[in-house]
């Protein structure tokens, strides 16, 4: 939703746009284009539901079929993951790509889930809140798998350190990552900070979270069992994140509340910390049948995905949703991206216990609907039906594109200009000067100004964090069993050759994990690219995926999940392709891990490899 444009307010229907009203008024002009849909996409929606969509349905489809939620440009290339995953690689994989986050078996009955996501555009607009809500979002993904989040990492990319706008963006992003992560109590065990002019107008804020649980505690996002209750819990719903989509807002509600819709989401880490503990209590009590976090696309996403993954339909009374802003219209409630909310499916006999637990944590929880034995998602507003759709068509059967791709013409020239042509330092003096330039450069210098703003000790399980190349945390306090995680990417290599560049990123993260003493087990990735409508970018993207998938097959570690972020560009100029790779490894006893750097005076130094 971050790239929605502001559009002219459309005339607002004087009556509630119910399903019946939509059926009776097939010819009403609808703002599908303003909502980012293409003509044929709009036509497909009409075909699926056999009439024009209501404004609420249109809102749901438009947000769920956005690039961000539907992966419509990238999905087609994801078959490379499957094709390159062998049965052997699947052995330790408990939950694969497609769920909120992948889960791997690390032994002794423990499972670990991890995933990296981007929050690039919001962090450029409002660095503190953008970064903070990015961290908050990925943590909820991990929570929704049934896990306790145990660590975060933050791969960051900024423009030139000395550019005035970097002075706005960098401190804000770092304070936001720290502000959220520190307050929620998750150790920050690593990340990256890279400066390159290509990120000046489009910094990258990626956030990774790791969570752990017992194998039997894995939870999935699905709504089954007719009669089971659908519960929305956590923060109240406000107008967050729909600021740009003023086409949805009524301009007639000037009285009685804020009518402006904020484009900026504000994070409340305290609310999320309470939500984590509350969810863990709920899992322990065994009262949750299905669970989903509310992230981008809010209720549209949670209701349609839960219903789509389940075996029945779902009925939701939208007017029961607790609101922070009473002036919100139903379609806005469906699109709101208010943070710190979760949705659970709970059987009626567990309802009282569920509510007692949320009460204990002072978390507001509201039954807003139930699972039905039908096959539609039906949403009502004060008794009138405003949404009646097959949930799969919203959540999973959105459009996919096989976009044209072409190797960029500039690549030959770029690759031809090799480093061999550069002048070499001749004298000791020159070598000295060059060395100083190198180690004083922003990309190589000490990063403690940033990393000291992050709590790396909370939870008491951190065995390695900055300045080491991997973060290492204990999962099992009895045995010391734990995991090592590293994220890496050199986008300059990826620009020269996205296939090899992606593999180099994978290899670096893999090595960083292996050298701590951990056995690499799984991969997550955050693919930050320019516009998919540019064939050159699309080619970079496909090459990078191919590189990662084939590299993973070679190394024998599966990709368990990740995130695609397109449209990272300023005007026509895309960022360097930046496929950030996270590798996770397992260790029997993390107190035996080896750190980087010299640890004793008389140690010998060996060079291994070629």
């Amino acid at each position: 939703m971050s790239d929605t444009q502001t559009v002219q307010p459309a005339p607002v229907a004087p009556v509630l746009d119910t399903v019946q009203h939509a059926a009776e008024t097939p010819d009403v002009e609808q703002p599908w284009a303003e909502l980012g849909l293409k003509a044929d996409e709009y036509a497909t929606i009409r075909e699926i539901i056999g009439r024009r969509p209501t404004i609420a349905e249109l809102a749901m489809y438009s947000v769920m079929w956005s690039e961000h939620c539907s992966y419509k440009s990238s999905k087609i290339h994801f078959k490379l993951w499957g094709e390159n995953t062998t049965d052997e690689m699947r052995e330790k994989l408990l939950v694969g790509i497609g769920e909120n986050a992948g889960v791997v078996d690390i032994g002794d009955g423990w499972a670990v889930t991890f995933k990296v996501e981007s929050h690039n555009h919001p962090s450029y607009i409002e660095p503190y809140q953008g970064a903070a809500t990015g961290v908050g979002g990925i943590i909820r993904d991990i929570m929704s798998m049934g896990a306790r989040p145990i660590a975060v990492m933050d791969p960051l990319r900024f423009g030139n350190l000395h550019h005035p706008d970097t002075q706005r963006v960098l401190p804000g992003v770092v304070a936001g990552v720290g502000g959220y992560g520190n307050c929620i109590g998750l150790p920050n065990i690593g990340g990256e900070v890279v400066f390159d002019d290509c990120y000046q107008g489009n910094p990258l804020v990626n956030a990774l979270c790791v969570g752990a649980m017992r194998v039997e505690d894995i939870h999935l996002a699905k709504a089954s069992g007719a009669g089971n209750k659908v519960i929305l819990f956590g923060a109240r719903t406000g107008g967050d994140g729909i600021g740009g989509v003023s086409v949805l807002a009524s301009e007639t509600f000037d009285e009685g509340g804020p009518t402006k819709r904020p484009a900026v989401q504000v994070g409340d880490p305290f609310a999320e910390k309470v939500l984590i503990e509350c969810c863990l209590d709920l899992y322990r009590a065994g009262v949750v049948d299905g669970i989903q976090d509310l992230g981008g696309a809010g209720l549209s996403c949670a209701t349609s995905e839960l219903a789509s993954n389940g075996d029945g339909g779902m009925q939701v009374e939208l007017d029961l949703v607790p609101l922070r802003d009473a002036s919100l219209q139903p379609q806005e409630i469906l699109m709101s991206e208010s943070q710190e909310r979760m949705m659970a499916v709970v059987s009626p006999e567990h309802l009282d216990e569920f509510m007692a637990i949320t009460d204990k944590w002072d978390v507001e929880a509201t039954v807003i609907g139930e699972v039905t034995d039908g096959d539609h998602l039906v949403i009502t507003w004060h008794g009138e039906t405003i949404v009646d759709v097959p949930p799969r068509s919203v959540a999973h059967e959105g459009p996919t594109y096989d976009r044209p791709l072409a190797r960029p013409a500039y690549l030959d020239e770029l690759n031809a200009s090799s480093a061999a042509a550069l002048a070499r330092p001749e004298t000791g003096e020159e070598i000295r000067a060059q060395l100083l330039t190198l180690i004083g450069s922003p990309n190589l210098c000490d990063k403690s100004w940033i990393t000291d703003q992050y709590d790396r000790y909370v939870l008491g399980n951190t065995a390695l964090a900055q300045p080491d190349d991997s973060g290492v945390v204990r999962v099992d306090e009895e045995t010391g069993r734990g995991v090592a995680v590293s994220t890496d990417c050199n986008s300059r290599f990826a620009k020269l050759d996205p296939y090899a560049g992606a593999q180099l990123a994978l290899a670096e993260a893999y090595r960083n994990v292996a050298t701590t003493g951990a056995a690499p087990l799984a991969v997550t990735d955050c693919l930050n690219f320019g516009s998919p409508e540019d064939p050159g970018v699309m080619w970079q993207f496909r090459e990078a995926i191919r590189g990662i998938a084939e590299g993973c097959r070679f190394l024998g570690v599966p990709v368990t999940g990740g995130n695609v972020s397109f449209y990272n560009q300023t005007g026509d100029v895309a960022i360097h392709p930046t496929p950030v790779i996270g590798v996770l490894g397992v260790m029997d006893d993390v107190s035996k891990r080896s750190g980087s750097g010299f640890r004793s005076d008389d140690a010998h130094v060996y060079l291994l490899g070629t």
Partner: protein, 113 residues
């Protein structure tokens, strides 16, 4: 020595977790009459001598440029603090509540961004 007060609040549509936390605590302390709490910032800028129109103009500009973040905040007021002390007077009493504001009724800041 004169002082100028700049008041900054989060825009009404923006979530205010701080205000919410305070709002949640009040009833536990037996204060039940408040329906909502929002928390903002108050800056007191001191100047040598009396506050001039130039000072006020500068304060207004600084309020927009530095003291507030127009993406999420509004400058709700820029006005002279009448007591004249550098900040809330000798702290004993802090009785400027009555004298502040109003005095320079015209200078409210209305043009965010």
């Amino acid at each position: 020595m004169g002082s100028i007060v700049v008041d900054v609040m989060l825009k009404p549509e923006i979530l205010d977790p701080q205000g919410q936390a305070v709002g949640g605590a009040l009833p536990r302390l037996g204060f039940n009459g408040f329906t909502d709490v929002r928390q903002g910032k108050r800056f007191v800028l001191s100047v040598d001598g009396d506050v001039t129109d130039e000072h006020l103009a500068a304060a207004r500009e600084a309020a927009e440029k530095l003291l507030s973040n127009p993406v999420i905040e509004d400058v709700v007021s820029v006005h002279v603090l009448e007591d004249g002390s550098s900040d809330q007077g000798g702290s004993e009493g802090g009785s400027e509540g009555g004298s502040e504001g109003g005095s320079e009724g015209g200078e409210a800041e209305g043009d965010e961004q």
